[in-house]
Amino acid sequence: MIGNIAAGLANVLTPFTLVLMVFGVLLGILMGSIPGMTATMTVAILLSFTFTLDPANGMMLLLGIYGGAVYAGSIPAILIRTPGTPSAAATIFDGYPLSQAGEAGRAIKTSTVASFVGGVLSVIGLLFFSPIISDIALRFQSPEFFALALFGLTIIASVSGESLPKGMVSGLLGMLIATVGIDPLTGFQRFTFGVPELFTGVEFIAVMIGLFGIAEGLQAYADGLDDGEEMNQEIKGVLPSLSDLKSIGPVSFASGVVGTCIGSIPGAGGDIAAFITYNEATRWIQNATPDFGDGNVRGIAAAESGNNASTGGALIPTLTLGIPGDSVSAILIGALMVQNVQPGPSLYQDEPVLLYTIIMGFLVIYVFILLFGLLGAQYWARLINIKKSLLWPVIFVLCVIGVIALRSNLFDAWVMLGAGVLGYALRLRSYPLAPMVLGLILAPIAEENLRRSLSLSGGSLDIFYTSPIALAFIVLSVAVIALPVIRNVYPTLTD
């Protein structure tokens, strides 16, 4: 492990890779600072810039954008009470009152340090827990993999929206879309309608760009292109005060640990992590002065450490099991697959250096976030004034060139537009999109292992409950689906 860490660090500390990371972090901060520009959308539309890079460098650019955007989402949350990304929603509670009191700089510096602490803790968690999980997963056979895919789908459906049935429909739709193309086991063409471009299936990246680029764009136009409030508050100084650092230290650490654990649950992204860590902080810290909600720096630290910790946490199931922890890590899986790298337990055996390069790179990315966050706070705050009316047309062009770059085929642009309309319609009716993305990724794993398992057992379902691990995953999946139903039918029981 030490050798792989050293090799990974050596790969990261090359000038070209460092430049990519800096570029990624700055792009992430730029987009995250603009309300409505989510980390998922930014990673999706800029994915095409990594196609010609090697897998490690491509991941450095994307992880830089990811970390930068999640961090920078706090800036508009603090300054104009509008989160740049959904994961910064909880930062508003204390960030905005502090900014209103004329202490926007203090709030942003607190957010930067807490984001760094949360991010670094999550990467440490990724470093130490991934090999253990991967080791266990290496013993998985077909029934266990099918059960794991089923569990992944049910858990993401249950946590990523308000309605479990809607989440499940979204996930299953993703799975259905993924069945288009030549059946890998029999060679039969399924739902291809004789279109040659569909023989290899629907291009996952095109669907992602449609769901998170085009659909978000349509929503922005439907909601009215509000160019937002002007931000003119001056931010002085670079470093946070020692007393603030002392005050936020313990809560940042605890929130980082909790955020990492929450982030590692498929579907539970930074928004859920931040709300939970913020809520826990209000319970841990009694008699806070000022009160939580009135501009307490520890409230900002809890939310920001929690949401940034979810980034490394989300990479744990992504890299060890091939199951994305959130929408961004689903795109990262797609990015690796474009480079013929399949995330999952075998990655630790087949590509250990790549893996540790990714992990060590993410650690260095958080150092850059701390550096640029503190040094550039006064400039990032001005990014809020960028007009969306200028940005969205440019984003549409990036979406189109992004899919053309996939395989120089305009057909993928039509797939993207179709996915964009579907995504927008789903959003309009409160269907979460994250389960659909997971469904697209999980379908091949689920199908191959389900069919292989049934072939091995001669069609009997016994094979799923004779394996303790598969049985445990299936029981958990059933529990995840049944729990809301029980809660609905017997509200007093669950109270």
Binding site: P165, F191, K387, A413, W414, L426
Partner: protein, 160 residues
């Protein structure tokens, strides 16, 4: 909540059920190679969609009512611009197509500064053209008249 009200607020559930029925029919026509043939997984998935979409129609859930009143016309029109941009690209090519798409969409989005519109519409497509076509060596659509070939080639080497 009664079903007719649910149908009105969540018509997508009905669409998904209908699509799933069609999928089940189509997948049942796939060649039969026992219970785990190529049609098995699409059928299982479609049955799942029907079950959950029907459940969604029957349970009380207020998530659809949190939707604000969207301006579908604005979203529809910008979508038409993007569709025309992609649809005409085999004729216009990426460079010219983007130079036509951007001013139209920028103006529609509310940008009124002519220098800004002209600058973004010319500089941005050229930068993208150079990055993707010459740096990343990706074949971008050239259109029936390949204007992009008039641009000077950059003395670049492949990226590491």
């Amino acid at each position: 909540m009664n079903i007719s009200k649910k149908l009105a607020t969540n018509p997508l559930a009905v669409v998904f059920i209908l699509v799933s029925v069609v999928v089940i029919y189509a997948a049942s026509q796939f060649p039969d190679s026992g219970e785990v043939g190529p049609g098995f997984f699409p059928i299982v998935t479609a049955v799942g969609i029907i079950l959950f979409a029907a459940t969604d129609l029957f349970i009380a859930d207020n998530s659809e009512f949190e939707i604000s009143d969207p301006d579908l016309k604005a979203a529809g029109l910008v979508f038409v611009f993007v569709v025309a941009y992609v649809g005409l690209m085999p004729i216009t090519g990426f460079l010219v197509g983007t130079m036509l798409f951007l001013p139209l969409t920028l103006y529609y989005s509310g940008v009124r500064s002519t220098p800004t519109i002209v600058a973004v519409s010319i500089v941005f497509p050229i930068i993208l053209f150079y990055v993707f076509s010459q740096l990343f060596l990706i074949n971008l659509p050239e259109g029936i008249i390949p204007f992009s070939r008039l641009l000077p080639r950059l003395p670049l080497v492949m990226m590491p």
